[in-house]
Symmetry: C2
Subunit: 352 residues, 2 copies
């Protein structure tokens, strides 16, 4: 795999120009969604790099991350005269970079694409790492490919158009990256004020986070080993997210990850003696910033069933990536139901 | 890219067993079409390697090489409980290996697949080389990916279920491979009786042809250079094929390629002094085995327009891969309208 170019800059049009200058291409096409087109796109629309580039605008939201939407994108790529030498520019959050990356990757057996994430969650998660796809038949990301953007432009330019919950949601993935790497970066993250901190400082923290993810992905692009470390917090997190859906009170993905991180650090402490002082610091930070997801012991069986059906679990056993310390990753640990129940008890003690 | 395993054998079940033994997998699923299931599948259905493996049966014919058919395949893969560790076995001609390869490549971001071509054209063309895809919005192979089968089993086992036109169609692609490689192999091809020759001898010739294609693809998997050599005969051939469609008298793909080879060898002679004795030998072989595609000078403008719209042509110029001699490839030659017209005059002299 060629090395992916990642540019950290709030001068987006200049970044686009410098990327396109290196590519042998005949045409650029932007894919974006209705919200992004209304709130983020105007910030770059007047620049020469973007003016006159055709825009394909999809509907906003995960509900529209479907094959039907991909079909409308392909038809519009044809109308725009896209050939194999055309470059697609995905401007938006995770839905746009996931769907736009997939649509580009299979159009005429593969157009190159550039990701310009407009959300914090998109920047630290979806836009990097080559996972593209659409939901299908009620299953998330069921159809897709592993294919990296040829370049990604990471910025904080659009963040003032975002609601606070989105910023916090993205920050939870950054906390995860901190836990996977080193104590100093992790401490820097805990010392930053998510909502009121200055944006230049945030761009620095974001850069660190993106590089941690990029390096993990580069070591294991198809998720056969190390990449599973990125699932830290997600086994319990997805279960919380699904339970919230069942209750008809959905929670933001990043919030569920934050609560999931607490549960999985508790398991890490129980099984691998992950330091309890760090566990308590994380629990405090999560409670202060994300509140708590209310559960009782009546929810335990539902949560266990959800964890057993997680994509990462095989043959009904619950499989987690855990930590023995910050940066000391224990991949693919099979966790017993009793340990999960004990960790949920402690989660309730710590957060509720 | 990992090197693809190609097994040349008429002992298909044993070949499947030996391939699966090397793979870490949890389940196999067969994709085939109605015709293949009726005529070819019974030849292997009773073997232990195949018995009990779920079969997804799609409709036969290029008309059904669509996203709608892929959608039914994905739903049946879900019903069959396919996971990322499942292996798909594509049993059929080009439609099955193209569509099955695509469906597998994007299901859960990529299942591995094995191709078992049941036609000669499939064996020498579609099953090897990693081009997968479906037709979309009236355009051939508009949506797809480059992704190689992890293994291909090449045999002549199913050929007695095929009509003579299919065998001849596939043989035209073998002639093309011969022209791209060396005089001895090419002479062997001309000396073989397509319909009555013995099948063991054909398997030997087929093996040679598959290896020529494999080596060209390995040098240029994404068709940015050498792989375009495989388009020899196809610029004129596709124009003949499309003209036949316009006349409502469709011709088999391989027949159009055979006639296209004659036109492009004439151009090769005109531009690069390709030896005229070989050109005449090819013209005789093509006339004897494929007859001729009747054209008059009234068809020239239509044929030129079709060639200008060929995928390989850029900016309205007609682009061909030609030869200076057998095995001496001249990629991406821009050919003038006058030269095309002159070559069509000579084609009519030689074949009509």
């Amino acid at each position: 795999m060629e090395h992916q170019q990642i540019i950290f800059s709030n001068a987006i049009p200049e970044a686009i120009e410098s990327i396109l200058k290196e590519l042998d291409f005949n045409k650029a096409v932007i894919i974006t969604d209705v919200n992004t087109h209304q709130f983020a796109f105007p910030k770059i629309a007047d620049s020469p790099a973007v003016k006159g580039v055709p825009c394909i605008i999809i509907k906003s939201g995960d509900t529209y991350k479907t094959m039907e939407t991909a079909t409308t994108v392909w038809k519009q790529l044809e109308v725009a005269g896209a050939t194999r030498r055309t470059v697609v520019i995905n401007l938006g959050g995770g839905v746009v970079t996931d769907l736009g990356g997939f649509a580009a990757s299979v159009f005429k057996r593969g157009l190159r694409f550039i990701n310009i994430p407009t959300t914090l969650l998109g920047a630290v998660d979806a836009a990097i790492g080559g996972k593209t796809g659409v939901n299908f038949n009620g299953l998330k990301n069921e159809i897709g490919v592993f294919n990296e953007a040829c370049a990604v432009v990471v910025s904080t330019l659009f963040f003032d158009t975002l609601p606070p919950t989105e910023l916090k949601s993205g920050y939870a993935e950054m906390l995860k990256h901190g836990l996977l790497s080193d104590r100093q970066y992790f401490a820097d993250l805990l010392n930053h004020d998510i909502l009121d901190g200055d944006r230049e400082h945030l761009l620095g923290l974001l850069k660190r986070s993106v590089i941690i993810k990029r390096d993990i992905v580069a070591a294991d692009p198809h998720e056969q080993g190390l990449r599973r470390a990125l699932n830290l917090g997600h086994t319990a997190g997805h279960a919380f997210e699904s339970l919230a859906m069942k209750r008809m009170e959905p929670v933001p993905h990043g919030y569920a990850v934050a609560w999931g991180l607490v549960v999985e650090l508790i398991l890490s402490h129980m099984i691998y003696k992950f330091p309890s002082d760090i566990l308590h610091t994380v629990a405090d930070f999560v409670r202060d910033n994300y509140g708590t997801f209310p559960i009782t012991c009546d929810d335990y069986d539902t949560l266990l069933a959800l964890m057993r059906h997680d994509k990462k679990s095989l043959g009904g056993e619950i499989n987690c990536s855990l930590l023995a310390d910050v940066g000391d990753i224990k991949l693919g640990t099979i966790v017993s139901s009793d340990d999960i129940k004990a960790s949920l008890d402690i989660y309730r003690d710590l957060l509720q």
